[in-house]
């Protein structure tokens, strides 16, 4: 995508919807924007059907506002609630068979490197906790072992939100859910730690209660993946519908998690530390 690609021909200028014109005139394409600029430019997400107060849609909104080059980004998803907002966005987006996201992203990244050898094309996986920790765990880990230069972002609501509340590997031990009536029996899968030992050169664990941090780590993760290797960002994105808390409590729940399973964590290789000093 680029402004040139989305600029309408003269004949269509008048009849296009306002949202489209805004995207051309006040959008983020070729015009560096960040989380700090939210509220002052036309974002690339349109109206979406996420529930009121959904942490996943907030996480996506923050992540998309942090893309260093939205016009040269390809977002890869998989089934889950994240599909709702991502499919409403003006960014190249591809859904995949459940769990296949990092395999598909690998192919796309390699193909883009051949097709555009002089350009950075960022391939970013944005999927739920079930998509990574359960159904796509093998393909995710293997893309890290192979050192594919892609960024993987987990939108962790600690449940299968989209299908009505089954437990996920990322649900907390003991958590009672619609379809886990006696509570989950084992601990949260340590995907964040696994990322570090499996080849990711950078990782960050954040929550939507810290939007500027989310923006900063997503941006860094994408820039690092361009140059050095696979990166991983895990964002806590609470789900009021399945966790059964009122929708105005999403930030409060995320803040509480920051004192517990979602304390801020970051890891990076020496090469990444050196690289970050210079950007």
């Amino acid at each position: 995508m680029s402004v040139r690609n989305i600029t309408p021909v003269k004949e269509f200028e008048d009849i296009l919807p306002k949202e489209y014109k805004d995207l051309v005139n006040k959008g983020p394409f070729n015009n560096k924007k960040s989380v700090d600029d939210l509220g002052t430019f036309k974002e690339i997400i349109e109206e979406h059907p996420h529930c009121a107060g959904c942490g996943v849609s907030l996480g996506i909104r923050l992540a998309l506002a942090s893309l260093p080059s939205p016009e040269d980004s390809l977002v890869v998803g998989t089934p889950g609630c994240s599909f709702f907002a991502l499919s409403q966005s003006a960014v190249n987006y591809s859904n995949t068979a459940f769990g296949n996201q990092n395999a598909v992203a690998t192919g796309l990244k390699r193909m883009l490197q051949i097709r555009y050898p002089d350009k950075h094309k960022d391939v970013i996986v944005m999927v739920g906790d079930g998509g990574i920790a359960d159904i796509g765990l093998d393909l995710t880990l293997h893309s890290w072992f192979r050192k594919e230069k892609i960024t993987t972002i987990m939108l962790d609501n600690e449940v299968y939100g989209n299908t009505g509340g089954q437990e996920s590997g990322m649900s907390m031990k003991g958590r009672v859910l619609n379809m886990a009536p006696t509570g989950k029996k084992f601990d949260k899968i340590p995907v964040f730690d696994m990322a570090e030992v499996s080849g990711c050169v950078y990782g960050a664990r954040v929550t939507v209660a810290n939007p500027k941090k989310v923006g900063q780590v997503v941006r860094n993760a994408i820039l690092i993946a361009r140059e050095i290797g696979p990166t991983y960002v895990q964002i806590f994105t609470p789900c009021p519908t399945n966790m059964k808390f009122p929708p105005d409590q999403t930030i409060k729940i995320a803040k509480e998690a920051q004192k517990d399973q979602y304390s801020y964590k970051e890891f990076m290789t020496d090469e990444v530390a050196e690289y970050l000093k210079n950007i």
Partner: protein, 63 residues
Amino acid sequence: MYVTVKVDKDKCTGCKLCILTCPEANVITLNEDKKVCINSNRCKGCFLCVSVCPKKALKEGSV
């Protein structure tokens, strides 16, 4: 009748915390006067913005 949020312009300092908290894109924007403005047509009434406003400038309301 729809639920939405009303802004008390006298209390708003334009800190943008609400903008960074709303799960909807382009529903809260910053005006030229550096006060926030709500697009009531697209607000889902979650009141997350109300919960984070340090100046209590946002209130639950309806249209």
